[in-house]
Symmetry: C2
Subunit: 302 residues, 2 copies
Amino acid sequence: MDEQFRNRLSEHAEAVTRFLDKAISPDEIRQGEISRPAQLIAAMRYATLNGGKRLRPFVTIESAALFGVSEAAAMPTAAALECIHCYSLVHDDLPAMDDDDLRRGKPTVHRKWDEATAILAGDSLLTFAFDLVTAPCDGVDETVRCKLASHLARAAGPGGMAGGQMLDLQAEDGDPGMKEVLTLQSMKTGALIRFAAEAGAILGKASPGEQEILSRYGRLAGQAFQLADDILDVTATTEQMGKKTGKDGEAGKGTLVSLLGLDEARRRLDGLVEEAVAILEPFGDRSNVLKATARFFAGRDS
Amino acid sequence: MDEQFRNRLSEHAEAVTRFLDKAISPDEIRQGEISRPAQLIAAMRYATLNGGKRLRPFVTIESAALFGVSEAAAMPTAAALECIHCYSLVHDDLPAMDDDDLRRGKPTVHRKWDEATAILAGDSLLTFAFDLVTAPCDGVDETVRCKLASHLARAAGPGGMAGGQMLDLQAEDGDPGMKEVLTLQSMKTGALIRFAAEAGAILGKASPGEQEILSRYGRLAGQAFQLADDILDVTATTEQMGKKTGKDGEAGKGTLVSLLGLDEARRRLDGLVEEAVAILEPFGDRSNVLKATARFFAGRDS
């Protein structure tokens, strides 16, 4: 299963990259008739075509497949999720936020160009995500596209990812407890991963019961993803991660690892994966890839 | 007409403000179960509930009325336009962009709080606009909401407003000609005003021919709006405008006034208004308010 899973992961990742490569181009972004904003589009491409693993798109494509939706029909939503994820990284890296110079071993957007370009490239990727989700797409009617855009806005906005980032910045000054950390994480990283799973059910016009299962699966997978990240921040080296580790401790940020200890955090992670797998039982073997995804999230080694 | 028009303008503005006051509140933005991002919501409110004239929402509400759409049905789209406009001001005011300390005589968001809060408040308003447009609304079906979101994304994104801001920042270093200035302005300020007019036709499920008329009207009104602004930048005092004037000249920015001279710019402005009024003739007296709007845009004294 493991090699098969990794092959599948990289195949989808390549398809997402091909789609973004084509979508984020001067020919596609054509409203400006004369001088297109070349530097802006270059920065958007730099921020997205960067060898990312496309984990969120993977969850959307695979949860859509569970309901018989093709990769092609799921792709605009999957790519939109990646645009939102990448915009959040570009803005989070800014000096006023996390102040990072490197992302995946390369200069961050504001280092490569300047802060204004990074702000506008982030704004543009965020806006472009809604362009992708709402644009005409074979097999995805307006009702579905409208619902996708609505859920995406909730997941990414002040009640979701953007709000979580705000709470995260403020948490550096405080001493947050268990409840605060869980809320913050469910907003900052959880909301988008949860939407990634829900999106497949929306695309597949699944029943409310099935949508609820995917939503709960997405929530658990997101928690596992974040907890694994917090554990790696303590246990892995900067070299293994390709980004700075030990940052949470340095910043005095509360994580579940600092609150529970490493052993208890690992036990909790196992429990989350078990629960995510169990919740998919109604779908039987058809959900094997999503089950493997939850295990993969928990065991990420890079 | 003039007083009647101004009353109508302020009535709609008050309705938009009431709507935003209710929509951007901790109770409505409720995903975070425990600690809501209070400072983020405060900054979003500060950036939007600021006594703005709500000109873009006015165009949407009035163009929707042309097709028999109620103010209530047009309001989420109108308010979304204002959120996009306000987000762009918050980000444009940042030190890395135009570096402004004051907006309507009050400290800009990054001055009132900090840069991180301003970046996230802008991101949140941008995302929230798509939440507003796509959320269920009496009398506006999913097909219409999907189309509104799609057109809004095009107007605000890299091929529209955000791309225009990028070109504007880069123009400070160059010596742009007539075509470059017109393209830049059609993206930076024109795209959103054009959408404001189109949105009414989309909400009213107008015929393609009628949508085209509103689109052309919106383009002309947007050009008039921008040209009047450029003229005022040269002729008005800082006190009259409530913001710094003469900035374009200081920044070495090309505008139609610097390229054509003040007299020719004024003649051109008159021509744009005449054309905008003429294009609405098929609608007869029903379009009187939109005609007055074009004249108002050209003669803004504040």
